[in-house]
């Protein structure tokens, strides 16, 4: 290991200096992207235009990799067998926990009782209230990051991660049961597939309109805009697909890993 480290350190002798504008990495294709992005796609954020337009294939398969990671987590961990354990209920107004031994179910049909998974699951008023206030703003900010990715740093990946984090905050501050009630497992799985479908669907739509795969110029035939604006809008659609897929996969991975696939309070 020291040998390989030493060899790598020796190899830095041939590297360009830090911040050198004439380094090989900065002189090949990137000047072309920088020069042509605004003219060809009307997207001032070059990172976004490369991500979704010039290198759209790459990003599409990255999204597919993320989708596969979510499916793999689900397949590895998810179990549907019920454990033979006791039930716990919390009386919400007083905070008293009721422990029912054996397999008997809910004693009283009442809104005042909520099902919890372990006797130590704490109920913290401050954390619950603050997170309830924060989550809508986090989600609003995530939507801004996705929608404004053309003009400021942001895009589908970042916004999707923030959206997923907002649901994970809910799962940590309350419990996993509350978060799953807000966004069910079935809807979450459908959304992760839907995100990839939106991305590849836009690509396939371009083929149907007679252009290459993911060549958004063709969208100008069905939208009332010119060919340059069509590329800009195609990028937006793709980013929305990426955002949905990333959000759903983040939530799916968290739910499965945190509860060992039982979707209860596992940790």
């Amino acid at each position: 290991m020291i040998l390989s480290g030493g060899l790598l350190l020796y190899a830095t002798k041939d590297f360009p200096s830090w911040g050198d504008p004439t380094s090989p990495a900065s002189t090949h294709v990137s000047p072309r992207y920088l020069k042509k992005s605004l003219e060809e796609t009307r997207v001032p954020n070059v990172v976004t235009s490369i991500l979704a337009d010039y290198r759209g294939y790459d990003t599409m398969f990255e999204t597919t990799v993320i989708f596969c990671a979510g499916v793999a987590c689900f397949m590895l961990l998810r179990t549907f067998e019920k454990r033979e354990t006791d039930h716990y209920y919390r009386h919400v107004p007083t905070g008293i926990t009721i422990h029912i031994k054996g397999q008997r179910e809910i004693p009283i049909e009442s809104k005042e009782f909520e099902k919890i998974d372990a006797i130590w699951t704490p109920y913290d008023l401050i954390i619950n209230t603050v997170s309830r206030f924060l989550v809508p703003f986090i989600q609003l900010f995530a939507l801004y990051v996705i929608a404004h990715g053309h003009h400021s740093p942001g895009g589908g990946f970042q916004g999707g991660v923030i959206l997923g984090a907002s649901m994970i905050v809910l799962a940590i501050a309350f419990n996993l049961r509350t978060a799953v009630r807000r966004l069910g497992e079935r809807i979450d799985s459908i959304m992760s597939a839907l995100g990839v479908f939106i991305y590849s669907g836009i690509g396939a739509l371009c083929v149907l309109l007679g252009a290459n795969f993911l060549d958004y110029k063709a969208l100008a035939q069905i939208l009332p805009i010119d060919r340059v604006a069509a590329r800009s809008d195609g990028i937006l659609g793709v980013e929305i697909g990426v955002g949905i897929a990333v959000m759903a996969v983040m939530i799916c991975v968290y739910n499965n890993v945190a509860s060992e696939g039982r979707y209860d309070e596992g940790l």
Partner: protein, 133 residues
């Protein structure tokens, strides 16, 4: 290589040295640690070193973020690529970060499965249990 040349080399390229040291820390953790979670942490350090390496390749002295100046509907002025950092490594690493998070989730899922089966995460204990059975 005499001392002065070596120092010049170090000052000009110390970022690469830092990343290689970070990468070797990660590699050491992946090879030498016994606990599977520590191995995963080492893998994440390794990935972080590579991400930092890519991002630093794209930097240019005096360059700003690659969001072009523009006025809506106005005339285009010429864009000098030397004024903006290279956006390509940023794009590659942007996707790599999210992919590394989700692959880390898969790795944790595998670790949970191993724990459920062998009731331990220490590599040598897992190996003895496999030999016993």
């Amino acid at each position: 290589m005499n001392m002065e040349a070596f120092l010049n080399h170090l000052v000009a390229k110390y970022n690469f040295w830092l990343y290689i040291i970070l990468m070797m820390i990660g590699l050491y953790a992946m090879i030498a640690k016994n606990n599977l979670i520590k191995k995963l942490v080492g893998m994440n350090i390794f990935q972080t070193a590579i991400i930092l390496f890519y991002v630093s390749i794209g930097s240019k002295k005096g360059g700003t973020i690659p969001i072009l100046e523009h006025v809506s509907g106005g005339a285009q002025h010429a864009i000098d690529p030397a004024n903006y950092v290279n956006p390509l490594p940023h794009v590659l690493m942007l996707t790599a970060i999210v992919v590394s998070v989700s692959t880390f989730g898969v790795a944790l899922a595998l670790a949970i499965k191993i724990y459920q089966r062998y009731k331990t995460l220490e590599e040598d204990e897992i190996l003895t249990r496999i030999r016993e059975s």
